[in-house]
């Protein structure tokens, strides 16, 4: 029950953030992202937010022009991951204020820091927004 990767992709299929919790070569990542994005973006809104791809199960959610995709393995609670995505977005929203694609692009490292706080070793470790943002805000203050 682990998260294998978190991907942010816009609706043109361009990657905006990628975090893998297992090592894949650049070529493998490219291929995987291409295939998954093609699959997910082609699905109408009313179909379910889960897609099986190879040995991954991908749970995705769309926010305006951005797709959040989370790849998991086997026995994962899909609904919980769906809400985890929302929790990520809420956290980013609290930090950036009305987060948008450009925020994530300009502050790529910040978005990564938040994910680092929330997911470790492929497990969801933190969903308490105070706990997630506190170290990042402290860092902003000191530097």
């Amino acid at each position: 029950m682990t998260i294998r990767f978190v991907l942010l992709v816009n609706k043109q299929g361009q990657t905006r953030l990628a975090q893998y919790y297992e090592y894949l070569t650049i070529e493998e990542r490219r291929a995987l992202e291409g295939e998954i994005v093609r699959k997910c973006l082609a699905r109408p809104d009313n179909q379910c937010s889960f897609v099986e791809h190879r040995n991954y199960k991908v749970i995705y959610r769309r926010y305006a022009s951005l797709f959040f995709l989370v790849g998991v393995d086997g026995e994962e609670n899909e609904l919980a991951i769906l809400e985890f995505i929302h929790c990520v977005v809420e956290t980013m929203d609290r930090y950036f204020g009305n987060v948008c694609e450009l925020d994530i692009m300009f502050h790529l490292e910040k978005a990564h820091f938040m994910l680092e706080e929330m997911v470790m070793n492929g497990c969801v470790v933190e969903t308490n927004k105070q706990n997630i943002l506190h170290p990042i805000q402290l860092m902003d203050k000191t530097t």
Binding site: Q14, L17, A64, L66, L79, E90, C100, F113, M120
Partner: protein, 1053 residues
Amino acid sequence: MESWANVIMKKAFKHGSQNTIDQLKTIGRELSMGTQGNWLSSKEYLDLVKAIGEAKSKAEEESIVMAEIEHLKKRIMEPDVPRKKMKEYIIRLVYVEMLGHDASFGYIYAVKMTHDDNLLCKRSGYLATTLFLNEDHDLIILIVNTIQKDLKSDNYLVVCAALTAVCKLINEETIPAVLPQVVDLLGHPKEQVRKKAVMALHRFQQRSPSSMSHLLTKFRQILCDKDPSVMSAALCALFDLVSADVKGFKNLTASFVSILKQVAEHRLPRAYDYHRTPAPFIQIKLLKILALLGAGDKHASENMYSVLMDVIKRNEPGKGDPGSNITNAILYECICTITAIMANSKLLGLAAEITSRFLKSDSHNYKYMGIDALGRVIEINPDFAEEHQLSVIDCLEDQDDTLKRKTLDLLYKMTKSSNVEVIVDRMISYMRTLSDAHNKTEIATRIIELTERFAPSNQWFIQTMNQVFELAGDLVPVKVAHDLMRLLSKGAGEDDEEADSLLRSSAVESYLQLLAEPKLPSILLQVACWVLGEYGTVDGTHSADDIIGKLCDVAEAHPGDNVVKGYAITAITKICAFEIGAGREVELIPECRSFVDDLLASHSTDLQQRAYELQVFFGLGADLVRKVLPVNGSGEEIEFDRELPFLQEFVDSALANGARPYLDENERLGVDSGMSSFVSSSRSHHEPSHGLRFEAYETPTAAIPSGSAAAPSSLLPDFEESVTELTRSVRNQTDSSQVDLLGPEVARLRLDGVQRKWGRTSGSSQPSLAPTPASEQQRRDSGVSEGASSNKESSPAEPRHEIYSSSFEGKKVEREIPAEKQRLAASLFGGSSVQKGSSGGVKGGVKASKAAGNVRPGEKGVPPRPAAGSGKKKNWSAAEPKQASSSLMDLVDMSGDDSLPVHDAKASYDPFKELEGLLGVPSTAASSTSVGLGKSTMDFMSLYDSAPVVSQSASSLAGDSDVLSLSHRRSGGMDGANGVEGGLIDLNILPSLSPLAGLGELAQSSSSLSPSTGVSDKKGPSRQHSLQKDAASRQVGVTPTGANPALFQDLFG
């Protein structure tokens, strides 16, 4: 500055066009850049990000990134790059890699940056390093030192950054370098540090459990940490530990239960809430652990009952409320736990209830979860599937590929011999739609497994396998093809030669037909060639020339495929041999002549040899050929004499000349220690060895025995003298064409097991081969239930049939359009009745073909499920009396009168009215599954009325606004379903409305009309039974299509 930008943006939102909004927003973002990072990013960086963001195509993006790489390569190497600038370069490198290009030229700078004193730089450095490097990269060794230093830092944020990097970069070899420090950090005053230290240990545990074995108690201690986030981190590690060793953690059950209780009771600070649900992710993790601990452990399970009840109660939405995603996620996890542990009937009842709610939801997400949950619930109570058959069929036929696949998974789990044909049929048609190899392989494997386990007849098995070969082609393991050939050669495992030869003839026909297709996968051609060679001419319908011609065509059409050619030439050899053996003159057709000539000069020695063997046969006498290649000889066992007595003379003379006597392996090991090391080392040569060899090599003198090993070459003349021996080897050769390919592991493949499986069912299934393919086809087309009505055995039902058709002649048109869905449901789930019907059908076929009809009754007629279900059902009946009362199973017995109170009250009505009542019900059931058809269900309209059926799903996905709206919207769907759901629940409460319940009465009333005899025995294939079967099949046919409810209403209203 930021607020100013926001003001502009907000104004722009109100007044401006989309274009100006975008422009202003970009300006606003750029202006606000600095305020959050405190560092104003350079113009260059902003331009790059903007260019990437505005790239309209992949090609444009590519060219931007390529230019960026060139730029960075130059700039990053300049001396004295200021740290701000360097940090920016590193992030730009991250962009380069993220967009799929190699940035390895800059890795070293990322590693360097981890040394930086500035926290932001350090953390960015660590981040880039974890993104760039895997744990086995050469640069890792450079970073370990930095990590060690940072773990000692006074600044806890630095420690946190280092621990985060530890989780991704430390490999097995470097664990000892940081382990003591990480363990020390478990006692750090800051909870963030403790949390990350736990996760670092979790990572070490995953990488190298052995180095952690002395630290397991640490995890238990951390579970009691006063900070919830540290405790929840410990849960991640404990989940892994518990799944590896359940017994060792049983004593923690009570702790987990009490933690879950406290979390559920909202004892954690509000900051841990997610949408007012207390720490849902912690709850889910705890539920997963409890599932592991309670599995197969009554005592542990009992401790969980109350907390599970509590969690469900707290998350269960009010009536009509679909609940939120997160509460439903917890509820789903509860179902998983309940079905994993030894739950009581009350919990199982709740699990079933929640599953029902999911399945009836409009949201595909909930349906998906429902299908998954259903798969879990029916493992405990198989009967539960019946209640939801229509929902399952809906999901199976949905456009949504994910849902369809999930449903096929479910069907795969519930396949049994009674529904295997329908399910495999579905899987095959799904496979037709697939294009990628991964999915195809997966589903082909499943089809093969199901077919091997449950095949009702050998003929069906062969046809299914052919389809699989055709669709999945070379993705199918060769073994499957060999199994199929073996099945054909050995027959059904019982001494019924007639059936076997029928099977073979039909196989020949089907392959001749198949070969007409233009493009076939190699594996299918191999099987086809083998079958044609072995049995093509056996039954006399096809002449040898015909078959040989076909085989030549196959070989010609696949010039590059040596395996197929090999199969073809061997098949031709066999056919020629059969002809010669039968004393007929064989003249190869010119086509074949040239084919053989080709092969005689082939580059492949294998093909050459096969061609030469064919030639040898033309010079041999009929008697000899008959011995070498007997007709239908592939099934016979070939015995080997391992003692090789005919070599005794040679051995004796060799010994007399001073050769060393032969010792077998064991003796050699025991006698000669030097030899044993030789043996072991030579063995380690064969297997991939990792370690170094420390023993010296054997001295070359040991090779002397090999002189005698070379001797067999002089033996060959002896072999050749005896023609029988030679031809015997030919025989082996032809046989090896099927077996050799398997390789050595063939010995442990469970071919015999497969045979046995077929053998078990063959008692009743084998004779059912007798019907012609046409009737077989018909049976499959019309669904299994149809078999019951065409069944001669159910003759008592015949009068019923007449009454039925005469009184409803006018409405026959209606009936001609059977609800495909219901039929499918019946054949899949078999409702117990239909299942009986179907098995009756099979049995009927059996009896028809076996005129004697002395088939053991009940062997197939009583499917295993009711027996298995009744044992487990005890658990359930208490929780779900309603369900039980409407269950067909009780009806079949007809003994439990009290289970049908409503019907007994109406028992005096005439059958016509009964039918009306019966028919009325399915219409409501059918329409209630599709929301749009509310009109036809007059009586239930009130239920729909009360619910506002407003589709919110459309609104939940906001338009193209760039700003993410976060109004806590739900992912839609379920809200709209409220009313309908309520309606459905109410429907289920009325037992008299159960469409299945109505059947019993129909059957009962009709039985009084039927003139036939028969002592009504409750268990055997009684009159009543067949009536019910018939009624069931009628009912299935009669149900109106959902597409035309109004018409139905008019006719029957």
